[in-house]
């Protein structure tokens, strides 16, 4: 299963993925991935949600389902390897020499903005580019134990919106989201060390 799989991905495709995601390791990734929890008998086909849901650690991650969902483009239930790597590429650490480069015509996937966009999309299920109070409440509830009453959670959500909302529409837009997190070291938080 393992060694045979890597040859199924064509060379050109690997090159494309490398360029797109900047991920130098992704040549070896098929080999590794097929051995990990996301096992799939025929490698170059697609992943479905079940494959992700099979991972036990994700089951007990409070945001597990949303993370899985983030891998699948809108409305689809399958993602191919390329899409998978594209999503993973968001978590590549930003190397120092890249920070100073002028922004390429298409921003690299792991830029700060794109990382924040990933996080934003975890909230914003309906993709209307706004985090409404409900969406915020849901995510809060997922992240918080059972000992908080709805009232308290509601006021936390209200306060969150109030802090971030600058244009008074009672929801958080992406720009407002970015502004609120401007002092936070997102590059470091949303990076996985071994994805270089």
């Amino acid at each position: 299963m393992g060694s045979r799989a890597s040859t199924l991905l064509r060379e050109e495709e690997i090159e494309e993925i490398k360029k797109e995601t900047g991920c130098k390791l992704c040549q070896n990734a098929p080999l590794y991935l097929s051995q990990t929890s996301i096992t799939n008998p025929v490698f170059n086909s697609v992943f479905s949600r079940e494959d992700f849901q099979r991972i036990p650690e994700l089951a007990i991650n409070p945001l597990g389902d949303r993370i899985i969902n983030a891998f699948f483009p809108e409305g689809e239930d399958q993602v191919n390897f390329r899409g998978f790597m594209r999503t993973l590429a968001h978590f590549r650490p930003i190397e120092d020499n890249e920070k100073n480069k002028n922004a390429a015509p298409s921003e690299p996937l792991n830029s700060r903005t794109n990382k924040l966009l990933f996080a934003f999309r975890l909230y914003d299920l309906d993709r209307d580019d706004k985090i409404s109070r409900d969406e915020l409440l849901q995510v809060l509830r997922m992240m918080v134990g059972v000992n908080i009453s709805d009232e308290q959670l509601g006021s936390i959500a209200d306060r969150t919106i109030q802090e971030a909302d600058t244009n008074g529409d009672n929801s958080i837009s992406f720009n407002e989201f970015m502004k609120v997190l401007e002092k936070v070291d997102v590059e470091q938080k949303m990076s996985i060390r071994f994805l270089h």
Partner: protein
């Protein structure tokens, strides 16, 4: 107040001990020397106990005391109680345990007690004979560490762990030994009589690092998980390494001359001992797992097997003079996985509790005695030697960590950075094993007292100084937040979200190294081992087992906890109204602080899985995991209930918590119900772990299959009606509504949808966690069996009608079975 109470209780206990002294008491564990103070109770005749005196003197003694008979167990019990009272006392004021590690506190209490004993010229019980320590006190501690070791991260890091444990300890011992020998050559310190072997022996004793105290700090500061595992594993294995080296060096210290052959033999012996220990451990582990396969009729004694087999492994290893610590650790590691699947749930809980209890007692007692013995032994103090020992211990540990990390970092997927290394180096506290080894030094070592004193000095120094200062230091170098009040709620919430995300993605990627062996082992495991060792072996993932246990027990428990919050239902309505007229509320600073507090106390920590299992002093905490699992399950169930589609006014954004509306939910359940019915053998159960739920309890399959049939139709209509667009909920609503009316008329199992429908109309906004619980509640009530089988499970397959990849390993659901 309670601390004072416990101290005074201790004092009282002591007075009792003293009062009950009689001459001539003996026994190995704790003997009182013959010449101690004795106060005899007045009733007893002075010239010795005479239960039945000569006939003339007879008068039946109304009240007699016979202390020697119960002396040994009595004193053992008193000591254990005393140490446990101390532990209770610590937790009275929570902040103490945060800043001061428990070992410090225990030693302090021991010091106090020792001072008391010394002042009344009492000798401490001679518990620290070699036999007592190594045969009775050490095994529970090691069993505790081995049993609660998180196996997956451990094996992923096993190379690093062994590297640090083995090579690190060797480095430390040899380094410190050599430097001390060099110091000994300096005449000014007056220790020239200590030769190289003795120095090496001593160095081995003090290089047994026990970084457990550090683990608690690491937990709270969310240190890199890898570091955590390495520290934990190192702690475990270097005990083994130290003991092996100690035995070797004791032997060598006797020899007048050391030849190169001996060195080579020493190395060979080291391997024999280590690997032999592991082999014994694995053997006993398998035997024990095999035994538990047959214990289904004797559930009450199941825990006994665990303890007996591990102890047996330990003793047999001691018999052959191979590393008993390795034996017991590998035994418990091997055993745990299979045994926990075989034994009943109660036995499992009992085992965990008892293991934790025994380990806790042992460790407590050891530290306690350390304190006591410090005061009451004769010390031989030598400033030069001891100070230099301290210095070298510190320096060599730091150097060792640096050098070893440099060498092993290229082989690690996640290399250690400087902060990690600092944590590793500074966390090198010494602990119980050093203490015991020092006490059990053979008497023919000339400077035994000096060694004992030096060991105690180092232990006290590291435990107190480093133990107390490590937390502030680590927090300082990690500087995560400068001032919490300046941070907005937004930042707190979003940062936690990001951390969870990253943790999830990391888990998803798995570990990109060592997969080859892991894969092979897993295959071997599934094919051979599980069949032999597990009672009717089923392929269940660990998460399924966990989920089963949790669901069965905790559905009601969660209800109890939140029952109060269901009364918050009115607040849902009020919240909804608030939404209609959002006015900017003014938040006071106090409110904000409250919010921060609430969030920080209640938000789930990351990787509960690992952190929870490695907390040394308490049982693994499943609570958050349970909550998350149950909530997901409930939300999924809820979302698929027919009634939930009735409300067309449900706001677009939420019906489910964790998932977007859409087909993906059905797929989650595809094989689930199938496995319970016998005409669906074709379904593979390799899909989603949570769905692969086989209830062990006898659930009538008939009813389940009939229940399964009903919703099938409904979901089929759902499928037809809905386009594959997750935003398009309205369509889904209408489609499902049509479906529900149809199915409801035909089903007899409509009790499930029914209660839901009653609840949903008044609620326009599904603000639902309380919703979920109400459903769970109803469902639990109405089902005679509290096993929540989700109403629909079923359909899933048809989801991919159009572009189904036939090679995808998913069951081919046959919708015609209605």
């Amino acid at each position: 107040m309670d601390i004072r109470f416990s101290t005074s209780a201790a004092f009282l206990l002591f007075v009792c001990c003293l009062l009950s002294q009689t001459p001539g008491s003996n026994g190995e564990v704790p003997p009182k020397p013959a010449g101690s103070v004795t106060i005899l109770p007045p009733i007893k005749p002075i010239d010795g106990p005479q239960a039945y005196p000569e006939a003339e003197k007879a008068s039946l003694p109304v009240f007699t005391m016979d202390y020697p008979r119960i002396q040994i167990p009595f004193e053992v019990t008193l000591w254990v109680l005393l140490a446990s009272f101390a532990k209770i006392g610590f937790h009275v004021y929570h902040k103490i345990t945060v800043w001061v590690p428990e070992s410090c506190l225990l030693i302090s209490i021991g010091l106090i007690v020792g001072a008391i004993m010394h002042s009344v010229h009492e000798e401490p019980p001679a518990v620290l004979t070699s036999n007592v320590f190594f045969l009775y006190m050490l095994p529970p501690i090691v069993l505790d560490s081995g049993y609660f070791m998180p196996t997956r991260p451990f094996f992923e890091n096993i190379g690093t762990v062994l590297w640090f444990a083995v090579v690190g300890t060797l480095w430390n011992s040899i380094g410190i030994g050599m430097s001390l020998f060099a110091i000994c050559q300096i005449e000014a310190f007056g220790v020239q009589d200590i030769n190289l072997q003795e120095n090496l022996l001593f160095a081995t004793i003090i290089s047994a690092v026990d970084p457990v105290a550090v683990l608690n700090v690491f937990e709270d500061v969310s240190v890199n998980e890898q570091l955590y595992i390495v520290v934990f594993g190192e702690c475990l294995f270097n005990d083994a390494v130290t003991v092996v080296l100690y035995n070797m060096f004791t032997f060598v210290a006797d020899m007048p001359v050391v030849e190169p052959v001996d060195v080579f033999l020493g190395v060979a012996r080291f391997f024999v001992v280590g690997i032999g220990g592991m082999a014994f451990g694995i053997l006993f582990g398998f035997v024990s797992a095999f035994t538990t396969r047959f214990t289904s009729k004797v559930r009450e004694i199941e825990p006994l097997f665990i303890f007996m087999y591990s102890y047996l492994a330990y003793l047999v290893a001691e018999l052959f003079a191979i590393s008993s610590i390795m034996a017991i650790v590998t035994c418990s590691l091997t055993m745990k996985y299979y045994v926990e699947e075989n034994v009943s749930q109660r036995s499992c809980t009992t085992i965990r509790h008892v293991v934790k209890m025994l380990g806790s007692i042992s460790e407590t007692l050891i530290f306690f005695f350390l304190g006591v013995v410090t005061i009451t032994t004769e010390h031989e103090w030598n400033w030069g030697y001891i100070l230099f020992t301290l210095l070298f211990a510190f320096v060599w540990r730091g150097l060792g960590v640096l050098v070893l990390t440099q060498i092993i970092n290229p082989f690690r997927t996640i290399p250690f950075n400087l902060k990690d290394q600092f944590g590793l180096a500074y966390g090198g506290l010494r602990g119980a094993v050093s203490f015991a080894l020092a006490f059990t030094l053979p008497d023919n070592i000339g400077r035994k007292q000096l060694f004992i004193t030096a060991t105690i000095a180092i232990i006290l120094f590291t435990v107190f100084l480093q133990g107390i200062s490590i937390r502030p230091l680590i927090e300082f170098i990690n500087v995560r937040r400068t001032n919490r009040n300046l941070e907005t709620i937004n930042v707190e919430v979003h940062c936690r979200l990001m951390e969870h995300t990253v943790a999830g993605i990391e888990d998803l990627c798995g570990q990109w190294s060592h997969f080859y062996w892991k894969d092979k082992f897993l295959k071997f495991n599934t094919r051979i081992l599980r069949k032999i060792l597990i009672r009717d072996s089923r392929a269940e993932s660990s998460i399924v087992a966990l989920y089963k246990k949790l669901e069965l027990q905790n559905a009601m428990e969660i209800l109890d906890t939140v029952a109060g919050d269901i009364s918050a239902a009115p607040s849902i309505v009020s919240l909804y109204e608030e939404k209609k007229n959002p006015k900017p509320k003014a938040y006071l600073a106090g409110d904000l602080r409250n919010m921060h507090d609430i969030l920080s106390k209640n938000m789930y920590n990351i990787r509960q899985r690992t952190v929870a299992f490695t907390s040394k002093y308490s049982l693994p905490n499943d609570r958050h995991t349970k909550e998350i699992l149950i909530r997901r399950h409930a939300s999924i169930r809820r979302s698929l209930r027919p009634g939930s589609f009735q409300n067309s006014n449900v706001s677009k954004s939420q019906k489910y918590y964790s998932l977007p509306a859409g087909q993906s939910l059905e797929s989650r359940f595809s094989p689930r119900r199938l496995t319970q019915t016998d005409d669906r053998e074709t379904m593979s159960e390799a899909a989603y772990p949570i769905t692969n739920w086989r209830s062990r309890s006898s659930q009538p399959t008939r009813s389940s299959s009939s229940r399964a049939m009903m919703p099938l139709k409904r979901l089929d209509t759902l499928k037809e009606a809905v386009s594959v667009d997750m935003l398009n909920e309205n369509k889904e609503d209408s489609g499902s509504r049509a479906g529900t009316t149809r199915t409801n008329s035909s089903s007899r199992d409509s009790r499930l949808p029914a209660p839901r429908r009653q609840l949903s109309p008044p609620r326009e906004e599904d603000n639902g966690f309380s919703d979920n619980l109400i459903n769970v509640h109803h469902e639990a009530e109405e089902e005679d069996h509290p096993s929540p089988s989700p109403p629909p499970a079923w359909a899933a397959e048809p989801r991919y009608n159009a572009n189904r990849n036939p090679l995808l390993r998913r069951p081919q659901w046959n919708p015609k079975k209605t």
